[in-house]
Amino acid sequence: MIKLLVRRSTSWLILIVVATNVTYLLANLFLDPRSNYRETRPIPSEKQIDDSLAAYGLDPRVPLIERWWSWLRDIVLHFDWGRSPNGGSVNAEMAYRTLVSAQLVLIATVLCVIVGVGLGVVSAIHQYGVIDRVLQAVSILLYNVPTVVMALLLVFGAIRINESVGHTLFLVAGSQSPQVSGLLPTIVDRLAHLLLPTVSLTLLGYVGYHLTQRSLLLDTINADFVRTARATGLPYGKAIRRHALRAALIPTATSVAFSIPGVFTGAIITESIFGWHGMGEYFSLTLAKNDVNGVVAVAAFGALMTAIGAILADIATAFLDPRVRLA
């Protein structure tokens, strides 16, 4: 098992390195940092622009291969991912935004999986019953609500409630309040800020797990081995949890693991509506601002998340299905 993980990690590492370097070359070909400066007034001369870019390793006059080499050397030797065209440190930006996104996305993902799988099990057990039909109807409705609509509805609803109770019950913007200090108040403040965006992400994210888990479980719920388990004296619910669900969870585990990179960079709309400055926003900003180094860092981050997701999927599969360990 350890050997397998080491082997997998090595091959993923190679993949990340290749993907990141290819992104670096592509980003340099398609993004033009100089255009940022042309919008400033007074318009600087080309030489002035290039000179200021040179300080950040983005000088277009230097051959690409040389820029690439120094970029790579900085990463390998100092883990320095470079600067944006206006001189901001990519490292600092990434560190801050990773934390912000992680709070938002990890809690929401965990909730999505728990709610989705749980409802999937309930739905499957009561297939075609009232409960199943109601749950499915709700899920299909939510499935068709665009993120913007959901987030805005939550914001409006929260504001209405705040107005009617007369003080701020729900916080609708930002990830933290500026003047909070002390450990406990900070945690409470963070959680209060997290509430609405997490609800929004969960309501929209659980649906997929609910519907797929329902049909996956239905495939195994009537399997002969579940009947055997019941014949040994396991009650229906227990037989399903121990035998049917375990088999039906394997595809879900894989899909959760591979959704991690997507949720980190994909929560753009939720982040912007609730005023969170996370990875999603950074991804679109770096692209818009021709921030070559930022784009590459985001891509590398995505690749790393994919690798982590894949390895987690391997571990989860091996945990759920012990036969895999033999392979």
């Binding site: 399997a223 002969d224 055997t228 014949a231 040994t232 004296g233 009650p235 229906y236």
Partner: protein, 679 residues
């Protein structure tokens, strides 16, 4: 008080065509330590009875009546309450061992879990107990094998594990629902023995559900025959087989080919199909198929009542049958008018193989496939088929029967050895004309008629296809199709119907008609009746016998049911692990089989006669097929009962290639064993 009492049990399932009355007023009684058999054809409701007793029917089932275990009512209890009874007081063995075990858990863990549901043991204690149980059911090296996963076990081994799970908590009642239907005969014998041991070990009552009258004859104390959801006859096993009273039972017993009745004698074929149970029948449910039906039979459904002591029957004419000499068996239409007895004349050779070899590569890896080994399915088979005769290939799954027929039917040069079809040796690629001629000359009837008929083609189109492929004119095709329908006994107006409109037996008739369309010299019959119910099976066997005597076609039969093989064959070859170990005229092989594997196979095949079944010596093989490395010696050696008893220098010869030896005085009887006497 009886261990199990079932009183007036009825089960109804809702369906799109209205409620289905699957079980209608069944009474059962089983004492501890005894075996009660429920026997019937598919759809008779026997498995539903088992499901109702153990409480594992789908929630949509509507159950009425009583199930009493030691006087305690089980019907109407909640799943929670029943789960304390299941496993602890009632153990169950299911039909398909391949899917009955959870694939993700080791077999030891599954036995362990079954123990710990009801017993308060530590994991260690339960594991040790599980290992003991696995040993009891005959798993060798149980401490190590307990850690294996189900996919590492063969079907027979998995069924042993299922039995171990069923008896894990010493239940008082064991229910076995078709426990050996999915298994080979020698494995069936092993598993039935294990079940018997388990029953003795626990002193449990056994409810044995099966369609196989041979299994009933060998293992049941009392028998209930079910038809259309009701018990139609109940008696002690000897009484039932000696003096059946219900016309249905009499028909069933006459439908099974037996050694004593002789070869090719017409079998009883019960006409028609069992009724659909969408409404409760108003008269006797068997009325449409019964040769002795009279007007009174339509008045009301006959109740089960005692005719002679301990013999219950649901037939208003049972008195006449029991006492007044009403001979039901004689009333049944025997399928065949007079079938002339044929002697094997060695006519022209229509099919032969010499040292035929077929192997499959075993590959590994998904992206870069590499061959890691070779699975030799057919190892040098010599097989001859003469015009107009039936030559059967018998053997268990994995013995290479199907590989052999497929190698021949491909009409391609074999990997090694020679194939000759209709006098044409198949060496290089055949030209189109020869290929078409040979294809027309050798045709196939498959096991699963349903799967072999395209559901979107009418019977007319199905039968027209081979004729079109042979470039017949439209008028010829039309004429031939109606000839074919006459030949297999189907009405002309079925031609424009689709296969779904037919019952299993009728579909197999269509399959046979298609095979005969081009007037082949050879028809390969690959398990032609194994998917059919007993009464229908007899009908098809009668048809095959009649067609052969009418058309002088040669049959190459592949089957695992030895009674069917004996009934149809002139010559039989026994195959084991890709090798023919014995070949002989049919009667000779069945009466004087020489090879130890032949003997084991014959003794394992159940006979529907309780007296024979309980007195004969049974050879139960141990171990599994092909469990040792191949050194070119006898392939049967690892399982051979003779091998260990042989003196050393004889045993050494088992490790050398075996040559076919002729049996003295019997032309054509050859056996591949050096250790048996051939005179």
């Amino acid at each position: 008080m009886s261990l199990l009492q079932v009183r007036d049990l009825s089960v109804t399932f809702p369906s799109e065509h209205g409620p289905v009355h699957a079980v209608r007023g069944v009474d059962l009684e089983l004492e501890a330590g005894r075996t009660l058999s429920l026997v019937g054809e598919s759809g008779s409701g026997k498995s539903t009875v088992a499901g109702a007793i153990i409480g594992l029917l789908p929630p949509s089932a509507i159950i009425s009546g009583q199930v009493l275990l030691d006087g305690q009512e089980l019907t109407g209890r909640t799943d929670q309450e029943l789960s304390r009874v299941r496993g602890r007081r009632i153990g169950m063995v299911f039909q398909d061992p391949l899917s009955a075990l959870t694939p993700m858990f080791s077999v030891g863990r599954q036995v362990c879990d079954a123990i710990r549901v009801h017993q308060n043991l530590t994991a260690k204690q339960a594991w040790n107990k599980a290992v003991d149980l696995l040993e009891l059911v005959g798993i060798r090296d149980p401490a190590r094998r307990a850690k294996s996963f189900p996919h590492e076990f063969s079907g027979g081994m998995r069924q042993r594990v299922v039995i171990a799970i069923a008896i894990a908590n010493n239940p008082d009642l064991l229910i076995a629902d078709e426990p050996t239907t999915a298994l080979d005969v020698t494995v069936q014998a092993q598993v039935l023995e294990v079940l018997h041991t388990a029953q003795q070990e626990t002193g449990a009552g056994l409810l044995l559900i099966t369609h196989d009258l041979g299994v009933v004859a060998g293992h049941a104390d009392d028998v209930n025959v079910m038809y259309a959801g009701a018990v139609v006859e109940h008696a002690k096993v000897n009484e039932l087989f000696a003096r059946p009273l219900m016309p249905y039972t009499i028909g069933l017993l006459g439908a099974v080919p037996t050694a004593t009745a002789g070869q090719r004698t017409p079998l009883i074929a019960i006409p028609g199909d069992p009724p659909q149970l969408h409404q409760e029948p108003s008269g006797c449910p068997f009325i449409d198929r019964c040769p002795a039906a009279i007007e009174a039979c339509a008045q009301a459904e006959p109740a089960l009542r005692s005719e002679t002591s301990g013999h219950l029957v649901a037939c208003i004419r049972s008195g006449e049958i029991a006492h007044d000499g009403l001979d039901i068996a004689a009333l049944y239409a025997r399928g065949n008018e007079a079938v002339e007895q044929r002697s094997i004349q060695h006519g022209e050779l229509v099919l032969s193989t010499r040292r035929l070899v077929k192997s499959y590569p075993i590959t590994k890896g998904t992206l870069l496939r590499r061959q890691v080994g070779t699975n030799v399915a057919v190892r040098g088979v010599d097989f001859d088929l003469f015009a107009g005769e039936t030559h059967s290939l018998v053997g268990e799954s994995g013995s290479g029967k199907t590989s052999t027929i497929m190698e021949i039917l491909h009409l391609n040069p074999p990997e090694k050895g020679q194939i000759e079809v209709l006098g044409t040796p198949i060496t290089g690629a055949l030209d189109a004309h020869t290929r078409r001629r040979l294809r027309a000359g050798i045709q196939l009837v498959t096991q699963d008629a349903t799967a072999s008929l395209n559901p979107r083609l009418t019977v007319y189109d199905v039968l027209a296809e081979p004729l079109q492929a042979a470039h017949r004119s439209r008028a010829q095709i039309r004429g031939r199709i109606y000839e074919l329908l006459d030949l297999v006994g189907l009405a002309h107006d079925v031609a424009d119907r689709f296969p779904t409109a037919f019952s299993g037996g009728q579909r197999q008739r269509i399959g046979i008609a298609r095979a005969l369309a081009l007037e082949p010299k050879v028809v390969v019959l690959d398990e032609p009746v194994s998917a059919l119910d007993m009464s229908v099976q007899a009908d098809i066997l009668n048809l095959l016998v009649r067609l052969q005597s009418q058309l002088s076609v040669a049959y190459f039969l592949v089957a695992h049911d030895l009674s069917v093989v004996r009934y149809l064959s002139d010559r039989v070859s026994v195959m084991y692990l890709g090798t023919i170990v014995e070949s002989a005229p049919a009667e000779d092989l069945f009466d004087y089989g020489l090879h130890p594997y032949t003997k084991a196979l014959l003794s394992a095949s159940p006979v529907p006669d309780p007296v024979v079944e309980r007195t004969r010596q049974r050879i139960v093989l141990h171990g599994e097929t092909g469990s040792e490395d191949d050194d070119g010696g006898c392939v049967f050696r690892p399982q051979c009962p003779l091998y260990s008893a042989l003196p050393d220098e004889m045993r050494a010869r088992c490790h050398q290639p075996q040559v076919m030896r002729a049996r003295n005085g019997v032309p054509g009887h050859r056996v591949a064993c050096h250790a048996v006497a051939v005179d």
